[in-house]
Amino acid sequence: MQGKKNCQLVEVFKTEQGIVYQCNRQNMFCLEFSGVSSFFKITDFLDFIKKVNKIDIEAMASSTSPGSDIAILMPHYTERCFVLTMTDVLKLRELLSGAKFMLQLNSMIFQCLSNPVS
């Protein structure tokens, strides 16, 4: 289990609901959401974003069956079970897509800096 002790955390993206950090020492991401921290390896974090984006919000909203307004994500790479309401899903998506954008932007900046236009 990962802790924050040996981490060198850099904030990637923040919303009112949570924060995504990057640990430059362990090459991992830390997601703080609903007051709980979860650590992800790079590939797992990207996979988690995909999983959250795949949640069918419309189906959750339109179904009348009990429990349909809750989405449960239990990725094997974390010990956390994400129990998400529709609002949680939207808030988590906002946080993750913002983080992903910042990571891609960071990559682009690195690329530009390593290939400066003369």
């Binding site: 990057q22 090459n27 790079i42 990207l46 990571l103």
Partner: protein, 179 residues
Amino acid sequence: MKDLLRLRTSLTEEIEALLNEQIKIEAYSSAVYLAMSSWCNRNGYDNSASYLEKQSYEEREHMMKIFRFVNDMGGRAVSPEITNIPQEFESFRGVFELALQQEIHVSSKINNIADRCFKAKDYMTFQFIQWFLKEQIEEEYVARRILELFDVIGEEGTGRWQIDKNIPKVTYGEEAGEE
């Protein structure tokens, strides 16, 4: 801030998705060729059955080539789920018409990957995919030539027997020239 995305892989999300899609297409082709082989075997076209079985094996090799590349580049190669494989075919000729259509479809997908690699300036994947572009020239040529046998020899009388006999002999020009 360290560039963790680049540390993981040099493949962009888009290129990785395209390569995984291609893995699935190659796996589908392999499965279809195998079904065609079985159909030919059931209907007495032994040479075609062997030829198609060999093709199926080749398609799987193509799939594995891409699969290994994605993993080697730090990406996540996905073992594909293959469904809806046709097991019955209209006719002997129909089998090879479908084979040509499948090869044309593969060529179009490979072309698209090359195009996207160029646009994304991913020249490593572009170089990798060039082997497939060359391979598709051969695949389409052979599939077309086989289909032409049906017109050249004709299906009447012992025609199909002759066609079946000649199918394994069809090779691409460069390859044939080397012999």
